[in-house]
Symmetry: C2
Subunit: 207 residues, 2 copies
Amino acid sequence: MKLYDNDFAPSPRRVRMFIAEKGLEARGVRITRVPVDIAAHETQVAAFLEVNPLGEVPVLELDDGTRLQESLAICRYLESLHPEPCLFGATPLARARIEAMTLGLMFRIYVPTTQAFRHTHRFWQGRVTQIAEYGALTREQVLAEWQRIDGLLAARPFVAGDSFSFADIVAFTTLEFGKPSGIRLQPTQQHLSRWYAAIAARPSSKA
Amino acid sequence: MKLYDNDFAPSPRRVRMFIAEKGLEARGVRITRVPVDIAAHETQVAAFLEVNPLGEVPVLELDDGTRLQESLAICRYLESLHPEPCLFGATPLARARIEAMTLGLMFRIYVPTTQAFRHTHRFWQGRVTQIAEYGALTREQVLAEWQRIDGLLAARPFVAGDSFSFADIVAFTTLEFGKPSGIRLQPTQQHLSRWYAAIAARPSSKA
């Protein structure tokens, strides 16, 4: 398989972290990385738009040429081929809880984090219409959401419950991606800090 | 089971449409609707925040009191209990394609449609900070995305391929939800119009 990838974007990082947690490479699953330079507009050139007309990474290309988009769909597909360790939940109820937490993180934190970046960061200047007031608003929303997650983590070790799951991958990569927009752990967020340190200590966090 | 529900919001409508497509009520699955009046702030009162601390509908409450959030997670859970007709895909690859399409619709069309509504509509005046310029920007993005979907539908009957799937439910309820923000089918979008008429003709569209 091939993974169209980028070192700095949060979505392909989810897939790399998932692959590392599943230990796929150690189990002989070959996934060749194809780096795509977003900053140099490589996602927008004809050759890449043939791979993904949406101009987005990650894309997983199977050996028969079939291409899959969207990090959540890619990871769930890989889990269906290699069920263990189980990161999307082992029962219908566990799967529903992990998915609900994952989507809550995506809609309430990840999307506004990308908007804070898009509407305030120098990287996007001249590339898109920036509305600084909207960027500031989303940043405040995201900071409030992390405060809420700090509260959740007072009662459980991982964001979706007792075990590490795909939701932790989404949370960790999203928190990391907040840094360029000034979205960081607050010193008072002791539960979130404990969780962050635990995830950062996993080898997959370097993937 | 109980479904905390609202007649006008797009997310609970997805669940109602899914339940209708699965024919769950005809198969003796009892799901009692509990209407929650968002306009009257009922999602923000203590009694409802105990049901869902996020103050959002839908919530599916199982007979043992377990509560599930997020329309996608709720519908996937119901599909795991009642696999036929299959609306999330029958094979890992079909599931990945339907999920990728669903998420693409959610992130590229549904989220900006909610933002267009939130930042421009009278309903939200005085309830949230409205940034009209951002609302207008998201509306333009959404109109461009529907144009793209019109192109996709030139080559296939349903948004994710040859069969009706959960992705069609997301697309249909999102297009309907665009109306108050002036996001409508364009007369030139013949493929999208044909698809829209076909979905609107299904009894589930009235759910």
